[in-house]
Chain length 567, copies 2
């Protein structure tokens, strides 16, 4: 493609409404253009990337026996009411009404459509397993849509649905799908971390997310770079370092007067101890259980998600009024002295700390040298800690890494939720009707484009991985010398003849502009044809991902390019 003819040239003015790196770079480089928040136009360069991503997805889905179909965006609202998601997902559904007052939901996902559709064609267990997928536009009324292609109101998605007779068969397929997903991300040049996650509105069953590190992400994940295990912060487990106090002995419990602030920092400072020596106690009101005190080391935080899971019942931090009514003194609550009507659970982290500082259940009074077992009792030790990057991997004992990441794909074991709604059963080998067991598997293809931009760029622009680059090679011809133009034209044609994908900057522009645009657009290989390079008998070869520029002899360029793109 001659750049002079290309629709969607670079724009060096940062668009004033670009609110994420991917949106800014992709807009400046002429890949996309925002229509409205979360709604984008794909220009020729961007669409070429998207098509390459789609082709990779198709190949990997076909490889796990996915059959491609295409479902509509207009869903009768009735089918969404049938599964209950018309209510549950109310906030993100776009709805519209047509002729004869027919109500539609604009599909944010397609379980409601695919389940009855597949049901029509499946009679017996012999027709299973089956998996079908589509690549299609989805619509979600996101309240915030400020992350460019990472969170769209209209966005592209590949959604695959699998249908099985047994849990075991689903489990096996699920593992195959997980591998296929990793191949997709890998081929797109992305390092995806596989994370066990809870399913959100879609399912309460087992699920995994595929997260890619980028500062623009909305999730915090905890990764062990040794064993590769990645965890969502909400559920992450890790090894808490015990404090280094080998010579410390249990001292006598003492009550002291202490006017102090309520923060752990205030407390530690007032007592002249490190924060880990403060016994932090927060009281929760738990439905059917009453008040429960939760203890953790002062330098650590309680992960409320873990706590909710532990209680398994609705809970909330006790209000000041509730504390007062229970005779508890806010800021000075402690398990020492066994306050009436209150039991205590604790995170494992307090087990190996000696001589805690804690409140004395009275205004401006603290205990020092409180020791668990001797001075206070814990009903239950549980993993309640919010893991941080400074923790260590439970398996490998190496430091964990905390990352901001974006979820670029997810897979769910749906079980029978949707097949039961649709009355979708098959007869098993004994002729007995069984509800069909389902899985669903999503990848945001437009989000992948944005994620690549986030994950692969430098201060000068985008850096496309070869597999998804809109073109492989960027030819720049410098100057108005006819000899140079002819040589560049010839190189362009020679590469096209070998099916190399080439963007040819044939504009009558300054070298500075051309170099800047080439860096911004970020094709893997830049070839400069100039008088100087020709005099040296060659073409300047520079790879966008790094390495110095070098000269390649004219006669070798095509061969070397073919080697480069097939490497």
């Amino acid at each position: 493609m001659r750049y002079s003819k290309l629709f969607g040239k670079t724009r060096h003015d940062a668009p004033h409404d670009a609110n994420s790196v991917n949106s800014q770079l992709l807009t400046q480089a002429g890949f996309v253009e925002k229509q409205s928040a979360g709604v984008y136009n794909f220009l020729p360069l961007g669409l070429r990337v998207l098509h390459k991503v789609n082709d990779i997805i198709r190949e990997e889905m076909d490889a796990i026996d996915g059959q491609e179909i295409l479902m509509p965006a207009l869903h009768s609202r009735q089918v969404w009411k049938a599964t209950g998601r018309d209510d549950i997902m109310e906030d993100v559904l776009y709805r519209t009404t047509g002729a004869d007052d027919q109500e539609f939901v604009l599909g944010p996902s397609h379980e409601e459509i695919v389940t009855p559709l597949v049901k029509k064609y499946i009679q017996s267990y012999k027709d299973l397993p089956l998996s079908v997928y589509q690549i299609q536009a989805k619509f979600r009324n996101e309240p915030r849509a400020k992350s460019g292609l990472l969170r769209g109101r209209e966005f592209g998605m590949k959604d695959l649905y699998s249908f099985h007779l047994t849990e075991k068969d689903l489990d096996e397929y699920y593992e195959k799908a997980k591998e296929a997903y990793l191949k997709v991300f890998d081929r797109c040049g992305l390092k995806a971390h596989v994370i066990e996650a809870s399913g959100g509105a879609f399912t309460d069953k087992f699920s995994h997310e595929f997260s890619v590190e980028t500062p623009a992400g909305e999730d915090t994940i905890i990764v062990c770079e040794k064993c590769g295990k990645a965890q969502n912060l909400e559920v992450a487990e890790g090894k808490v370092e015990d404090p280094d106090q080998p010579k410390e002995k249990e001292e006598d419990l003492k009550e002291v007067d202490m006017e102090r602030g309520f923060t752990i920092a205030d407390n530690a400072k007032a007592h002249g101890v490190p924060e880990w020596k403060i016994l932090k106690t927060v009281v929760y009101e738990v439905e059917e259980e009453g008040l429960i005190g939760v203890c953790i080391r002062g330098d650590l935080s309680v992960n409320t998600n873990k706590l909710e899971k532990y209680f398994g019942k609705p809970m909330r931090p006790a209000s000041p009024a509730t504390l007062k009514k229970a005779g508890l003194v806010q800021g000075y609550i402690s398990p020492v002295g066994n306050p009436e009507g209150l039991s205590f659970v604790a995170d494992h982290s307090i087990a190996n700390v000696k001589n805690f500082v804690t409140g004395a259940n009275a205004p401006a009074k603290d205990y020092v040298n409180a020791n668990v077992g001797r001075d206070f009792q814990i009903k239950d030790f549980v993993d309640l800690v919010e893991v941080k990057g400074s923790f260590r991997c439970s398996t490998c004992d190496v430091a964990l890494k905390e990352m901001i990441a974006v979820e670029a794909g997810n897979i769910f074991k749906l079980g029978t939720k949707f097949s039961e709604s649709a009355g979708f059963t098959v007869s098993d080998s004994n002729g007995k009707l069984q509800p069909v067991i389902m899985g669903c598997y999503g990848i945001g293809n437009t989000r992948i484009v944005g994620t690549i931009a986030e994950a692969s760029h430098d201060e000068n622009g985008l850096i496309w991985p070869l597999n998804v680059a809109p073109y492989h090679v960027h030819i720049l011809s410098l100057g108005k010398d006819q000899e140079v133009i002819d040589a560049a034209d010839k190189l362009y044609q020679d590469l096209l003849d070998e099916d190399v994908e080439v963007l040819y900057d044939d504009r009558d522009g300054s070298p500075g502009v051309k170099f800047k645009d080439a860096d911004l657009i970020g094709l893997p290989l830049r070839l400069v044809v100039s008088k100087r390079a020709m005099e040296a008998g060659g073409v300047e070869w520079k790879e966008r991902a790094g390495g110095d520029a070098k000269s390649v002899k004219v006669g070798n360029v095509v061969k070397d390019v073919l080697k480069f793109i097939n490497s």
Copy 2:
């Protein structure tokens, strides 16, 4: 693909809600499945056809320098208000509202999006001409959606938009686009007739439709099969056969008493003459002009579209009250005797008829032997006739054919309508700002799939043209003989190895079912592997489009298949 594994098998029960041939056949054969009226799921077979159609469209659009982009379906309602089409197209717009009360229109077309988008990247005439296109889902709230894939509420479309500095440049591109369109239809196995048409809601400028004959169509077109000229009934011209009355002389005008009915048939019967001998006169009320009588031969009809165009002003048939007030006698109106306050125009068809029968402007009184020029005066002779299949081509003098057809594509010269709305100007070579001149070019890709089904089937099922067939070859293995199964497996693999697209009916089913399904699905070539065929040393070869079954030697099959699909 092994048919045993394919999602979307044949269903021999005619779906009770299939209301068109395309919907019925495509559903029975497992290509599509209706979601709701005008909203379809594409199953694997149907999607393969759609992808092939898309690929053909892409190649032809790329060949006329179209650059592919992808625009969203969610359009801010504001941009539709800006062009006035939020009102004009009100009836077919789906609308929805999202976060922050943002109102959207679901795009039924993309002029409102593409014009401001292109404007952002085009500065001067040097950036023109430019053409961009997309293949994307469109949404139209059609009141009737009962023609399967021919009229969808959600449907696929390729829409290309071209941008020019001059009318001349648009005209040249428009002709190229017309040729490209004909190539698309031809490659899809469709015979498209190019028709001059008025633009409807989209434009009042020059436009063409591409119509394909099918009984399921909504248009009537008039085609000369010799010169290929096709016309929309509304504007069609044709040669009217003069009556055969060479020996007839002008007889004397006579007034006769005649109690008769008002229809032409009644009139002709009462006088004992053929219908062409009745001078039919209808009076119209024309704004600013008053009452005008329109005369035509009794066996012909006035095309009100032509009449409206001739008057160029609002008009309607005069009401009985108006006629009475003007002293005219309904059913007996005639130009003979020059009724006061009334002038007459006539279709050319009356010029060569002698001795007309006409009313005498009095109750139950007619003239016979009325002759134009001698007995009555016509202010203006015009082409006002509604053309029928019995007419002859004005150019070739061969009989015209009346066809029911579906519009599978259309192209419009938009002029500056949308560029003016968007304030889209470019500086010309003199530095003067000029509004950009636009064209738009649409093809319904899903409609093409339906049109092929309509145009190419027989009583047993679909007959896919090779270029768009979901697979080239349908292998049937008959019986449970292991030797047969092995031979069929081998043939399947041999053809796959040569990149032939094969559907292999490997089911353990009866020959009758397999033959019936093969006919219904309609792949171009059926190869039967059976014990009988093997004993005869070959494979049975049968082309779906016609011709007898024959035996092909096993050793020659692959070679012959390659020849067949590359023919």
